[in-house]
């Protein structure tokens, strides 16, 4: 009997060991693809552990970064989350089937700074991806977006005059969302970026690269989109991106020819100062209302008019 019990326990244990990783893998939604500093990931009831490259990320995992640390999470639909310093992120919904249109992604950023780069799910529409902070919900479509949650957001909003006198703000949840691209001048085949921020019963949308939306509390409506100051850009760049450490250059290579275009040859078609407006103004031939906008020389001969029905030379 004891022998049989031993066999059963052993078999069950082996079965669990074999099956556990597979059943665990069902919930795997991504991996840690780059790590800098102290970042922990807590899965379910397990103790938080240091994030390592290639470790899986599961639905509901809490990603927590400390000061001067960051983590890049690569999801299975090619979405990329960069968790900046002092950030707490949870991905609480991830449905992805490349063959279906019912995909969705939802994440919560409770504090700190983050960066999001769209993958395949966000191609469906802004309602497919939402990133929530304590005070607002952001819909994302085809974009790079960055966010800052907490007291620092208030500091910059005050400096920019975005908080009305007497308005109550939430020092822990106040949020700034910044659209980084692809912008109007983008040369990418990626869709032009768009974010929609909802709070206090109002939704504000922007498609302008470099523009931000601020929400001070859950009761406040989002501000209109505003252009972010250079110093705030610097803050995002410093915390979410890398910088050389001063060592020797690593594995130099020359860029492919298609990346070596002169910036002048990538002149922006949509920029009114540089191209479109003057071109259009200068060239009556390219304005499609040519005959009716009176650029057309043929409209310079107005003597025969509909009213002038008696003039013999004008009659049919």
């Amino acid at each position: 009997m004891t022998h049989l019990k031993s066999i059963f326990v052993s078999t069950a244990t082996i079965a669990l060991l074999v099956l556990a990783p597979n059943s665990f893998a069902v919930d795997e939604i991504g991996i840690n693809s780059a790590v800098k500093g102290d970042v922990t990931v807590q899965s379910g009831e397990q103790a938080a552990k240091q994030a390592l490259v290639k470790d899986p990320i599961h639905l509901g995992d809490e990603v927590n970064s400390s000061h001067s640390s960051s983590l890049q999470v690569l999801l299975k639909d090619e979405t990329v989350f960069t968790v900046g310093p002092d950030c707490l992120l949870t991905i609480d919904k991830f449905v992805y089937d490349p063959d279906k249109n019912t995909n969705g992604l939802s994440a919560k950023v409770s504090k700190g700074m983050f960066r999001f780069m769209s993958g395949n799910i966000s191609k469906s529409g802004p309602e497919s991806v939402s990133i929530d902070t304590p005070v607002a919900s952001m819909g994302v479509r085809g974009t790079m977006v960055e966010g800052l949650v907490g007291a620092e957001a208030i500091e910059y909003a005050r400096k920019a005059g975005l908080i009305p006198p007497g308005a109550k703000v939430d020092p822990e949840g106040a949020s700034i969302f910044v659209l980084r691209g692809p912008g109007r001048r983008s040369k990418a085949r990626n869709r032009r970026g768009e974010i929609s921020v909802t709070s206090g019963g109002r939704t504000v949308t922007t498609r302008r690269s470099g523009f931000a939306i601020f929400v001070g509390s859950a009761d406040m409506v989002p501000t209109d989109p505003f252009q972010l100051d250079a110093d705030v850009f610097d803050l995002f760049n410093a915390r979410l991106r890398t910088q050389p450490t001063g060592g020797i250059s690593f594995k130099p290579f020359e860029l492919d020819p298609f990346m070596q275009e002169d910036p002048d040859d990538q002149e922006v078609v949509d920029d009114p100062i540089r191209a479109d407006v003057p071109e259009d103004d200068f060239d009556p031939g390219t304005t499609f209302d040519w005959p009716s906008d009176e650029e057309d020389p043929t409209t310079d001969v107005p003597d025969c008019t509909p009213q002038n029905v008696d003039y013999p030379d004008c009659l049919l």
Partner: protein, 440 residues
């Protein structure tokens, strides 16, 4: 039937022309330029820390125009190897192409003092310089074009070209149109000198009064270049023709010269002069049209103010002088223009333009001879409200479709008013139109 045939012919010709003229799209061309081994996302997912794999993936995706994927790969590489200067330069250019200029500028600044190759250093300098200067560059390189189809209703269709000329009965009418233009610009040598050529044309067919149908065709060839970082010039020769009721009515040949100066990133001014030799022909139902022939000269100065990436206004003022063998058709006068464009955050745009002309004729009117020279005031205005089909689909609750981003549906309202000291010449028209526009 005639309408159908003409529109089909026009579209067929235009599509063939565009297809022939656009050898291969830039992205497709670049995709062929990537020479490394193919890399799948699954490989990256399994080996996110494989630097060579990430580099090839970034190159492959950038070649295909997927700069978002390229950027995330490069970020991974820089996390692991922050001193990988070549990767940082690559990353900066990818960000530039994504229109994240602030981030691109920051990455280029970080390459200051880093050991780069001479080519890479030159590239960093070129891009950094590009950020610094307010420029007046005249056009992008390569092809760009537009094809549009639509329908317009006018409550007094005298607004249409032919009616202002031939006294067709005062009537309302609906017209259908197809329009197309193609512009090509290419550097030809030193000092930013570029060659440009363009062609455009349109067909308009009326529902009830086909005699007023007209076609226009035009082309231009010229040069453009920079005088300095913030000043540029354009010079070209132009030829165009207008057919009415299928008969040649006007041919004109001429040229124009323009100068532009950027006062800042937001403000530009321009000056333009044009000269055209106009040659009018009689149609089967006219007799005096050739007496309209003669030179026409215009001089115009304007200002453009950009408020942000999606919003600008432009104003200009000019003088026009038209000669004709018959003094009743010759005039001169002041011309004022205004236009604006505003793109809203939800992707909808509103644009408008208006022209006001004050004309003094050299002679009296044909239909009202007397001692008083004819004087006219002409006002034309148009408002357009549009959005891409992608945006419209999203607004209606659909999933949207990025491939429809360059296909715009536009609703337009037109207004024309002519007042004159000869009241017989006064004229007014309201019109509305719907237009499907493809920019490429």
């Amino acid at each position: 039937m005639r309408l159908k045939t003409s529109v089909s012919l026009f579209f067929g010709t235009t599509i063939l022309t565009v297809a022939a003229a656009l050898p291969i799209s830039a992205n497709a061309q670049n995709a062929m330029d990537y020479t490394g081994p193919p890399v799948t996302f699954e490989q990256i997912y399994a080996n996110p820390d494989d630097q060579d794999l990430n580099l090839n993936y970034a190159r492959q995706q950038a070649a295909a125009g997927d700069y978002l994927s390229a950027a995330s790969s490069l970020e991974r590489m820089l996390y692991a190897s922050p001193n990988w200067d070549s990767a940082r330069l690559f990353y900066a250019l990818v960000l530039y192409k994504l229109d994240d200029r602030e981030a691109a500028r920051r990455e280029l600044d970080l390459l200051d003092g880093r050991p780069l190759s001479p080519d890479q250093r030159a590239q960093v300098a070129a891009y950094r310089n590009d950020f610094k200067k307010p420029k007046a560059s005249t056009s992008s390189s390569g092809f760009k074009g537009r094809i549009a189809v639509g329908a317009r209703y006018d409550d007094n269709a005298g607004n249409a070209l032919a009616d202002t000329l031939f006294t067709f009965a005062n009537r309302d009418d609906t017209s259908f149109f197809a329009q197309g233009s193609l512009q090509y610009t290419n550097p030809i040598g030193v000092n930013g000198l570029k060659f440009k050529a363009g062609a455009n044309g349109q067909l308009r067919r009326h529902e009830t009064f086909s005699t007023a149908d007209y076609d226009t065709f035009g082309g231009n060839v010229g040069l453009l270049g920079d005088l300095s970082d913030d000043m540029s010039w354009t010079a070209d020769v132009q030829a165009s023709q207008v057919n009415i009721s299928g008969q040649k009515y006007l041919t004109q040949i001429g040229g124009r010269v323009s100068l532009r100066k950027a006062l800042s990133e937001q403000t530009g001014v321009w000056l333009r002069g044009t000269w055209h030799d106009q040659d009018y022909n009689n149609l089967s139902f006219t007799t005096v049209e050739p007496t309209r022939s003669g030179d026409k000269i215009t001089v115009t100065a304007g200002l453009i103010k950009k408020f942000n990436q999606d919003s600008f206004i432009g104003i200009s003022a000019g003088y026009e002088d038209k000669k004709a063998t018959n003094a009743a058709f010759a005039y001169d006068g002041l011309r004022l223009n205004g236009r604006f464009y505003n793109g809203f955050d939800n992707g909808v745009y509103l644009n408008g333009r208006a022209t006001y002309r004050m004309l003094k004729y050299d002679g009296t009117s044909f239909n009202n001879p007397g001692p008083t020279r004819r004087e006219d005031d002409h006002l034309y205005g148009r408002l357009g409200l549009g959005a891409s089909l992608d945006t419209i689909s999203t607004m209606m609750g659909g999933a949207g479709n990025p491939s429809l981003e360059n296909l715009n549906l536009e609703l337009g309202a037109n207004y024309t008013n002519r007042s004159s000291n000869n009241t017989l010449l006064e004229y007014k028209n309201f019109g509305g139109e719907v237009k499907l526009i493809w920019d490429f």
